[in-house]
C-alpha cells in the first residue's frame, strides 16, 4: 500500500472513531436528561367518583404548584374501584400511591396489610396534620382499625332529614327541629309522612331506597341503629362475639316500619339506587325523607354534578333525624378516607398529598369550588366557618349528626361486612316486595349470618379481639395532636 493510501485510511479511521465518541456522548447526555426528567415524581391517586372527587380535581393544581409533584387523579365507579384495588393488591402493583378507602372496607384492607398505618406519619408531622381539629367520632368510625389510624377522611357522610317547606306548610306541619327535641320521634315522622301523602295524588309522603343488595342497607341501617337494632352480640368492644342478633322483636318492628314508609313512597322506589332517591326528592313532590348528608347540596342541582338548579332550590330544609324514645341517639356514618397502599413506591409523596387533601384549607377550597357541591367535612372548625355556612346553612345540624354518629355500630366494619350486607339487603328487599314477611326475612338473615360467620371462622371468633372504643380513639388523637 502507498504512503498516501495509508495516510488516507488512517484519517478515515480517526474520523470514524471520533464519530463514535460524539454519538456515544450524545447518547449518554440524552439518557441522563431523560432519567432526570423521569425522576420528577408522579403520584397516581385512585378514588371513587363521589362529589369530593370532582371538588378535589378542581383544586389539585394548587398542590402540584406547591410541591412540584404531579398528580394523576383517576376516578372510578365504586364497584370498579374495589375490583381495581383488590387486583392491584394481589398482584403487588407498585403503580398506585393513594387510594380512597370506603370505611366499610377498611377492616379487610387493614387485616390483609394492603394499606399501611398512618399513625407514625401523623406523629411525625403532628403540627401540620392537626388531629385535634377532627371530630373524634369520624376518626373512630371510619379511619381506625385495631388502634391504628389507616386513613384520613377526605369525605364524611352522616344522615339527616330533608323536607319540602312548601308541602309541610300546606299540610300545616311544624318544621322538624335542627337541634335535639323530644317531640321529634319516629312515630311523629310517620305521622308527617302520612299527612303529607294525603295532600294530593301526585304528592308522596316520603321516598325510600329499595334496591338490593347494598343501597337499601345504607338507608335502612340509618333507621335501625336509631331504633336500637344491633347486628352482633358484642362488637366493636372486646371480647368480640359475632353471634348475630338481627332476628329480634326490635329488628322485625323496624322492618315493618320501613315497609310502612314504602307505602307512602313512589312505588318504583323498590328499585331505587342511592342517587335515585335524591333525584326523586328534587324533581317529584315528596314531602320528607332522610338520607346521606351530601344530598343536602346534591338536591340543589338538576342532575349529578351539573350546574342547572333543581326545581326545589329555596323550597327545602334540613333537620335532625328523629329518635326512638328509650334508645340512644346514634346516627349512621360513612366516609371515604385516603390511604397509602403497601406497595406504593412513593409513600412520602403520597403522605404529603393526603395531608394536603384532608387539611382545613384544602377542604374549604373544595367546598368553595364553582358548583358548591362539597361539604363532607370531618374537621370541626369547618362546620363553624361563616363563609361556608353561607353556602351550606345546615352545617351546624350536620355537625351534631356527625358527633352523634357511630359507624362501627350502624354498619359494623368487620372484615366480612360485604358478605353480610349483601344477604341482609336481599332479605330487606324481599320483605319490601312482599315476597317474605318481616319475620321470615329476619329469621333468614339471622340463619344466613350464622352460616357465613361459621364458614369463615368468625363464629365462634377465635382471632384476637381489640377493645375498640371511642375513648381510646380520643386518647390517640390527643397523643397525635400538636
Amino acid at each position: 500500500m502507498s504512503l498516501r493510501k495509508v495516510r488516507l485510511s488512517s484519517v478515515k479511521y480517526t474520523r470514524k472513531v471520533l464519530q463514535i465518541i460524539v454519538v456515544s456522548l450524545l447518547g449518554v447526555l440524552l439518557l441522563a436528561s431523560l432519567s432526570a426528567y423521569a425522576q420528577k415524581v408522579t403520584l397516581n391517586v385512585l378514588g371513587v367518583q363521589d362529589p369530593w372527587f370532582f371538588a378535589l380535581e378542581e383544586v389539585i393544581p394548587e398542590f402540584e404548584k406547591m410541591t412540584g409533584i404531579k398528580v394523576n387523579l383517576e376516578g372510578l365507579a365504586w364497584d370498579a374501584l374495589q375490583a381495581r384495588l383488590t387486583t392491584s393488591f394481589i398482584t403487588k402493583e407498585k403503580g398506585i400511591d393513594v387510594i380512597s378507602v370506603d370505611d366499610c372496607r377498611l377492616a379487610q384492607f387493614a387485616e390483609n396489610t394492603w394499606i399501611i398505618p398512618l399513625t407514625s406519619y401523623i406523629e411525625r408531622d403532628k403540627q401540620s396534620v392537626k388531629m385535634n381539629e377532627f371530630v373524634p367520632e369520624v376518626i373512630y368510625s371510619s379511619c381506625t382499625w385495631r388502634g391504628d389510624i389507616y386513613t384520613l377522611p377526605v369525605a364524611t357522610y352522616s344522615q339527616f332529614v330533608m323536607y319540602r317547606t312548601d308541602l309541610l306548610q300546606k299540610a300545616g306541619l311544624q318544621f322538624p327541629p335542627t337541634e335535639p327535641a323530644d317531640w321529634w320521634t319516629w312515630d311523629k315522622y310517620m305521622e308527617y309522612v302520612k299527612k303529607i301523602d294525603q295532600l294530593g295524588d301526585d304528592i308522596y309522603g316520603t321516598v325510600i331506597v329499595g334496591a338490593q343488595p347494598v343501597p337499601i342497607v345504607h338507608m335502612y341501617t340509618g333507621l335501625e341503629v336509631n331504633k336500637g337494632v344491633r347486628w352482633f352480640k358484642h362488637f366493636p368492644e372486646a371480647p368480640w362475639d359475632f353471634t348475630p342478633t338481627v332476628n329480634t322483636e326490635k329488628s322485625i318492628n323496624t322492618l315493618k316500619y320501613y315497609k310502612e314508609l314504602y307505602k307512602y313512597s313512589p312505588p318504583e322506589s323498590i328499585n331505587y339506587l342511592w342517587f335515585d332517591a335524591g333525584t326523586a326528592f328534587a324533581k317529584k313532590n315528596i314531602g320528607i325523607y332522610y338520607w346521606w348528608s351530601p344530598y343536602g347540596y346534591l338536591i340543589r342541582h338538576a342532575g349529578y354534578m351539573v350546574e342547572e338548579p333543581s326545581p326545589i332550590v329555596g323550597k327545602f330544609g334540613v333537620a335532625l333525624m328523629p329518635y326512638e324514645p328509650g334508645e340512644p341517639r346514634i346516627y349512621s356514618l360513612g366516609a371515604h378516607g385516603l390511604g397509602i397502599p403497601q406497595y406504593s413506591a412513593n409513600k412520602e409523596e403520597a403522605w404529603k398529598f393526603i395531608m394536603w387533601a384532608t387539611s382545613k384549607e384544602t377542604q374549604k377550597a373544595m367546598a368553595l369550588t364553582h358548583l358548591h357541591a362539597f361539604n363532607d367535612f370531618a374537621r370541626e372548625p369547618l362546620f363553624q366557618d361563616p363563609e361556608l355556612i353561607k353556602y351550606y346553612p345546615w352545617l351546624p345540624t350536620q355537625l351534631y349528626t356527625v358527633k352523634q354518629a357511630n359507624g362501627k355500630v350502624s354498619r359494623p366494619h368487620m372484615a366480612l361486612y360485604p358478605s353480610l350486607e349483601g344477604f341482609y339487603g336481599l332479605q330487606l328487599n324481599l320483605a319490601l316486595a312482599g315476597h317474605k314477611t318481616p319475620e321470615q326475612a329476619m329469621a333468614d338473615a339471622q340463619s344466613q349470618f350464622e352460616l357465613i360467620l361459621k364458614q369463615n371462622y368468625y363464629l365462634p371468633y377465635k382471632g384476637l379481639s381489640y377493645d375498640d372504643t371511642l375513648d381510646k380513639t380520643i386518647a390517640l388523637i390527643k397523643k397525635l395532636s400538636p
Binding site: D79, Q82, A83, T86, F89, I90, Q108, E111, N112, T113, W114, G210, A211, Q212, P213, P266, P267, E268, S269, I270, N271, A415, L416, P418, S419, G422, L426, N429, L430, L432, A433, H435, D444, Q448, Q455, N456, Y457, Y458
Partner: protein, 308 residues
C-alpha cells in the same frame, strides 16, 4: 424422487422438505395457540384449582388450604342458587328464541331488495354497537313509570305494575329480556341475511316458476339452507345470554328480590364484591359444566351425521 449420483443428499433434502411441510402449519398457528392457552386455558386451570381451595380475600390475602368440595356444596346450597338457575335458563331460552324469530323476519324483509334497504341495514345494526351496560342504564330509565316505554305501553292501554316494569317481580325479567332483544336481534338479522344471500337465486326462482308460495319456498328451500348457520348462531347466542350480566347489573342488580338474579350475577357478587375467590371459582365451574352439557346435547341432536 430424483435419482442421481448423490442419491443420499437428495433423500435427505426430500425428508427435510417433508418435515418442513408437516410442521409448517404448526409454526403459523403456534402463536395463536399460545395466546389461546394464555387467555383461556390458564385462567380455566387457575379457577379450577382455586375452586377447591379456601380463599376468601375478606379474611385472608392468601389461600388458607384445601376446601375439598365445600365451595361447590356451598354454591349449590346458596338460598339464591335455584332461583338464579331457573332465571338463567328462562332468559337464555326465551331471549335466544325471540331474537332468532325476529331476526329471521327482519332478514327475510331485507332480502327483498326494497328501496332504501342499505340505509335500513345501517340503522338496524346500531343497537348492537351500544355497550350493554349503556343499554342497561338507558332502558332502566325508559322503564320508569314516567319513562318513555311505560308511556307508550300505557297509551296502548296495556296495564303496567305501579312499581314500574323493573320494580315488579313478574315483569322485571322480561324487561331485561327486552333490552337484550333490542340490542341483539339486529345481529341475528345480519347473520341470517348473509345466510339467505348465500342461497343460490336459481333455486328460489325455479320454485317460484313452479308456482310455490312464499311459505313453501321458505319452509322447503330457505330454512333447510339456513339450518347450519342458524344452529351455529343459536348456540353462540345461547351461551352469551347464559352469561348475561351487564344489563342485569345496570337495571335491577338481581332484584326485586331474586326475580332477576342469575348465575352470572351470583358469580359477580361472590367474586367481585365479596372477593371469595374459591367460592366464585366454584360457581364459574358449575356454570361451565351446565352450559357444556346443554351445548353438547344441542350439538349431538342438531348436527347428527354432519361434521362441524
Amino acid at each position: 424422487m430424483r435419482f442421481d449420483a448423490s442419491g443420499g443428499d437428495v433423500q435427505k433434502e426430500y425428508i427435510m422438505l417433508n418435515i418442513k411441510r408437516h410442521f409448517l402449519p404448526y409454526w403459523f398457528i403456534g402463536p395463536s395457540l399460545l395466546f389461546l392457552v394464555l387467555i383461556v386455558v390458564y385462567p380455566l386451570g387457575f379457577s379450577l384449582y382455586y375452586s377447591f381451595q379456601i380463599w376468601n380475600l375478606q379474611i385472608s390475602a392468601v389461600p388458607l388450604g384445601p376446601a375439598g368440595l365445600t365451595n361447590y356444596i356451598n354454591a349449590i346450597n346458596d338460598p339464591t342458587f335455584v332461583q338464579a338457575f331457573i332465571n338463567t335458563i328462562k332468559l337464555s331460552v326465551s331471549v335466544t328464541a325471540i331474537e332468532f324469530i325476529f331476526g329471521l323476519g327482519i332478514a327475510l324483509l331485507l332480502n327483498e331488495n326494497l328501496k332504501g334497504v342499505n340505509i335500513i341495514r345501517a340503522i338496524l345494526i346500531m343497537p348492537t354497537t351500544v355497550a350493554p351496560m349503556v343499554a342497561g342504564f338507558l332502558f332502566r330509565y325508559l322503564y320508569y313509570p314516567d319513562g318513555l316505554i311505560s308511556f307508550f305501553l300505557s297509551s296502548m292501554k296495556i296495564p303496567l305494575p305501579q312499581e314500574g316494569i323493573l320494580g315488579n317481580a313478574a315483569t322485571a325479567l322480561w324487561g331485561i329480556a327486552f333490552t337484550d332483544i333490542w340490542e341483539w336481534t339486529p345481529f341475528f338479522a345480519i347473520i341470517l341475511l348473509a345466510g339467505l344471500k348465500s342461497i343460490p337465486a336459481e333455486i328460489i326462482e325455479a320454485a317460484q316458476v313452479d308456482g310455490a308460495t312464499f311459505f313453501r319456498t321458505f319452509w322447503h328451500l330457505m330454512l333447510p339452507n339456513l339450518k347450519f348457520v342458524s344452529l351455529i348462531i343459536l348456540m353462540i347466542r345461547f351461551m352469551q345470554v347464559f352469561n348475561l350480566f351487564d344489563i342485569i347489573y345496570a337495571e335491577t342488580m338481581g332484584g326485586p328480590g331474586t326475580s332477576t338474579r342469575t348465575l352470572s350475577y351470583n358469580l359477580y357478587y361472590r367474586g367481585l364484591v365479596e372477593y371469595n375467590i374459591g367460592y366464585a371459582s366454584a360457581i364459574a365451574w358449575i356454570m361451565i359444566i351446565i352450559i357444556a352439557v346443554i351445548i353438547n346435547i344441542f350439538i349431538i341432536f342438531s348436527f347428527r351425521g354432519k361434521e362441524l
